[in-house]
């Protein structure tokens, strides 16, 4: 047996213990590789998409890389610690420290090489599928599988360097210990029972404070809180796991009738040891899970925004034009031709919008004609209105205005033409994209509309009213190629900040929607995959810790069984031991993200008037279900191992 064979056998025969972090690192390599496949894809020509996809992938890959480095470093050190007895024996048999380092290095590199190879293999195998999903999300024509050395080189380079770093540094943990210490690998149980009451209370207090602040936050302080709260909550979490948990369990222990009750004695004391022993790990798992929940939750809420997009933008295409606009008829016929070429059926409702000053508010009002509004309402399938002469109705300009204007009643005079109007209530649905006609819109009876003849004060007849073309298109998502030319002119004008000079304005919600949707769903998809890697790793941490403590647990259960512990009680003890280990970090992470979302909701509501509660609940339920499945899986393996 050569030295290399020895290292090889060590890995292969320890495969059950190596399995957890082999899985996690392989999965990480796989996702990393698929991201690079997208990053280097030659077929993404659209500049915006290309830039967006590449930068998104780079961020995701950096996160993956850092996290994998951290995860492997932690697992490796724990693993070497667990094998210290074996290393002690090797040293006693005359192995040099240098050889031991070489052994660990070889083993790590072997695992690394295998996970990189299988990761890339699976990554390439799933790339077609991945690219198909991305193609759907970005609504591209085609995104074929391709072969290029770039993604392969990047992945291999990144992960080989990572494994070399791990292999070089993890040896540090065994270097300075004496052989006798390695052989005995003393369990440090005494220091584990210690805690500081001050720190314990401080930890709980910090968490409560952070939660309280997050709940009662408002727009004015939210930015300051966004800087203060995360570090505070993180420190609070750390203290919570290292001190508060032990403190709380110790309070339970003082109550003998609670503590000295059947198997509770064993379960509680065992949980205390496990939680204290792995406090740092639970802290990490909690933070990682919180970040995963938050990113996925935020991204889901973004996509819920796209769901509400249609309600906010009920029209297919919108073109508004000043009466002086020389391109008007050309543009409208262009749009009609393009729609017909695409085979899209549409209803075109032209409006002439008149402007007057309201005597009530002294502001400019945009006035629509009742018959125009009704013909648009017919096209959209919305309720019709009936106005008596002298009466008027508000048209909502945003979701908020629906409620604000609902019960308003105003008596006003349209000053220039001297037409008295009594405005009552608001049209119950959004008719136009928000703010496209301005914020003050009313609809009046046709007869009253005819009476408005005088131009707005300080303007001519030509500039005090404008034409507005509303296209209703049932298949509005398919309009992204319509009017691209006009859209480019509008966008250019906006970028050059002289849009006022353009005598027309064009909006294509279908095109906007396709961009928003593509961006959000790609972000969500990327985030979900990163979160999946993080969660898998978090689960592996727990599995790994359980596995390294297995021998000791097994002996303990053997003694207890001999003393007369029934099988049912054993299962109950295992449950009470595993449930806190699985669900305490989980629960805290849940609380963290729930409260974070409470304050996010404040920001979010201001941005887009979207409630993210239902999406959040869905995401949290989903993650909990995964965790429950994971718990039962691990419990099943664990019980199979410890049962005598």
């Amino acid at each position: 047996m050569t030295f290399r064979q020895f290292a090889y056998h060590n890995v292969v025969r320890n495969r059950r213990i190596y399995a957890a972090f082999f899985m996690a690192s392989m999965f990480s390599v796989m996702v990393f590789f698929m991201y690079s496949m997208l990053m280097f894809h030659p077929k993404i020509e659209d500049e915006f998409l290309r830039e967006f996809a590449v930068s998104g992938m780079i961020v995701a890959e950096v996160i993956l890389y850092i996290f994998t480095l951290f995860f492997l470093f932690y697992s490796m050190s724990a693993f070497l610690q667990a094998r210290s007895k074996e290393f002690g024996l090797l040293l006693q048999l005359g192995m040099e420290k240098k050889q031991l380092n070489k052994l660990v290095f070889l083993e790590t590199m072997l695992i690394g090489a295998i996970s990189i190879a299988t990761g890339i293999l699976f990554g390439y195998a799933f790339s077609k599928f991945f690219l198909m999903i991305v193609r759907e999300l970005l609504q591209l024509q085609s995104l074929p599988l391709y072969i290029s050395w770039k993604p392969f080189t990047l992945t291999m380079g990144a992960f080989f360097s990572l494994f070399v770093i791990i292999a070089m540094t993890s040896v540090v943990f065994i270097r300075d210990q004496k052989i006798i210490e390695l052989l005995h690998s003393y369990r440090k149980t005494d220091e584990m029972q210690s805690y500081s009451t001050v720190k314990a209370v401080l930890g709980i207090f910090m968490l409560l404070f952070a939660y309280g602040a997050a709940t009662f936050t408002s727009m004015t302080v939210v930015k300051a809180l966004a800087i203060i709260l995360p570090p505070l909550a993180a420190l609070g979490t750390y203290l919570f796991f290292t001190h508060s948990v032990i403190f709380i369990l110790d309070q339970v222990r003082k109550n003998k009738s609670l503590y000295w009750h059947r198997f509770r004695l064993i379960a509680i004391s065992e949980v205390a040891v496990k939680l204290r022993e792995n406090a740092q790990m639970y802290f990490i798992v909690t933070i990682v899970s919180t970040v995963a929940f938050l990113s996925v939750g935020t991204l889901t809420s973004l996509s819920s925004y796209t769901g509400q997009f249609r309600e906010l933008n009920p029209l297919g295409l919108v073109y508004s034009s000043e009466l002086t606009n020389p391109y008007e008829s050309e543009h409208i016929s262009l749009l009609r031709t393009e729609l017909e070429e695409q085979g899209l059926s549409y209803n075109l409702v032209p409006f002439v919008i008149k402007q007057q000053t309201s005597s009530f508010s002294q502001y400019k009002v945009n006035i629509l004609r009742e018959s125009d509004v009704n013909s648009l309402a017919i096209a959209l399938g919305l309720p019709l209105i009936e106005l008596q002469p002298g009466k008027g109705m508000f048209i909502p300009y945003s979701e908020d205005s629906l409620n604000q204007l609902n019960n308003r009643e105003i008596q006003t005079v349209l000053q220039e033409s001297n037409v008295p109007i009594q405005i009552e209530g608001v049209y119950p649905k959004m008719l136009f994209p928000s703010m496209i006609i301005g914020s003050n819109i009313i609809v009046v009876n046709d007869a009253d509309y005819r009476l408005i003849t005088e131009p707005l004060e300080g303007r001519t007849t030509m500039t005090s009213s404008f034409n507005f073309y509303a296209f209703h298109i049932a298949e509005w998502e398919r309009t992204k190629t319509i009017g691209l030319e006009i859209d480019t002119q509008v966008t250019d004008a906006i970028y050059q900040k002289d849009s006022i000079d353009l005598p027309f304005y064009f909006e294509n919600p279908g095109l906007d929607y396709s961009f928003i949707r593509a961006t959000f769903s790609l972000l969500l998809f990327t985030g979900l995959m990163v979160a999946a890697v993080l969660l898998l790793a978090a689960g592996s941490f727990i599995y790994f810790k359980l596995y390294t403590g297995l021998e000791r647990d097994k002996r303990q259960f053997e003694v207890l069984t001999r003393m007369g512990l029934t099988d049912q009680e054993l299962v109950k003890i295992v449950n009470r031991q595993l449930i806190p280990q699985f669900f305490l970090p989980w629960g805290i992470a849940m609380l963290h993200s729930a409260f974070s979302f409470l304050s996010l909701q404040v920001i979010w509501h201001d941005l887009a008037e979207v409630s993210i509660l239902s999406e959040m609940i869905l995401v949290l339920i989903g993650f909990t279900l995964i965790q429950i499945v994971y718990f039962f899986l691990i419990r099943w393996r664990y019980i199979a191992h410890v049962r005598v």
Partner: protein, 257 residues
């Protein structure tokens, strides 16, 4: 009155090599007796202990403990039986590291759901008797081997079992601590009439008993009863051991004059 009755007990381990660990072994233990089982390595002592502590079942033959047959009980009934009727003392103490001495002592009672008041009373009595009052709040890694074994004995006694099984209780102790533990066992046996079955290598430990049963290759070899003087009993044990023809290493080099 017989508390443990072994009748023609045989245990065969099937496997690549079939191994007959216990062969038609029969002996009785009376109530209140302090009995030692001795034999060279591989004579089947551990198998015997596993069989009578009901965590393993014999291939043939019957075992009766306190008039009950473990063979006819379900797994749960067996666990409850062990919990109430048997006490265990191990070579490496097997105290639970995360529990204090006091909690280790009450463990069998908590498993059985006794009221806290009663547990406290019994701990107080036992600690007094075993000299553990000062270390009740300590953890197993903070006390000496002798104290740990006394705690283990306390744990075996606290639920007043029908019989206590001790597996090499002095194997990990120095001579002073060994003597303390053996004297304690003898005292418990004398004062509380507790039946004790001890498996041991150590002729000194065996010499504290009322009777020593020798087994060899899983079969009954000989038995001797104690007399008035421990020294002569010890000498007779040595004689049998040399007859056993086991390994010289099994014989203690210590001779008491």
């Amino acid at each position: 009155m017989t508390i443990l009755k072994m009748d023609e007990v045989t245990k065969v381990y099937e496997g690549k090599v079939t191994h007959r660990a216990i062969n038609q072994l029969s002996f009785d233990v009376s109530k209140g007796e302090f009995i030692a089982v001795m034999g060279p390595s591989g004579s089947g002592k551990t198998t015997l202990l596993n069989l009578i502590s009901t965590i393993d079942s014999p291939t043939s033959g019957t075992i009766m403990i306190d008039g009950l047959s473990p063979d006819e009980m379900s797994k749960t009934e067996l666990a409850l039986f062990r919990r109430r009727q048997l006490g265990f003392v191990f070579q490496d103490f097997n105290l639970l590291q995360m529990l204090t001495v006091e909690e280790n002592l009450v463990l069998p009672l908590t498993l059985d759901g006794h009221p806290v008041k009663e547990m406290k009373k019994r701990v107080k009595d036992l600690a007094n008797q075993l000299g553990l009052e000062q270390i009740l709040e300590k953890r197993p890694n903070e006390i000496s081997g002798g104290q740990a074994q006394r705690t283990a004995i306390g744990r075996a006694l606290i639920h007043q079992p029908a019989i206590i099984f001790a597996d090499e209780p002095t194997g990990n102790l120095d001579s002073k601590a060994s003597r303390d533990v053996l004297e304690l066992l003898a005292k418990v046996n004398l004062e509380q009439k507790t039946t004790i079955l001890m498996v041991t290598h150590d002729p000194i430990a065996a010499s504290y008993c009322d009777r020593v049963v020798f087994i060899k290759d899983g079969e009954f070899f000989n038995e001797i009863y104690s007399d008035d003087r421990r020294q002569t009993f010890f000498q007779r044990i040595l004689n049998v051991l040399s007859l056993l023809g086991g390994n010289v290493n099994d014989l203690s080099t210590i001779r008491l004059s």
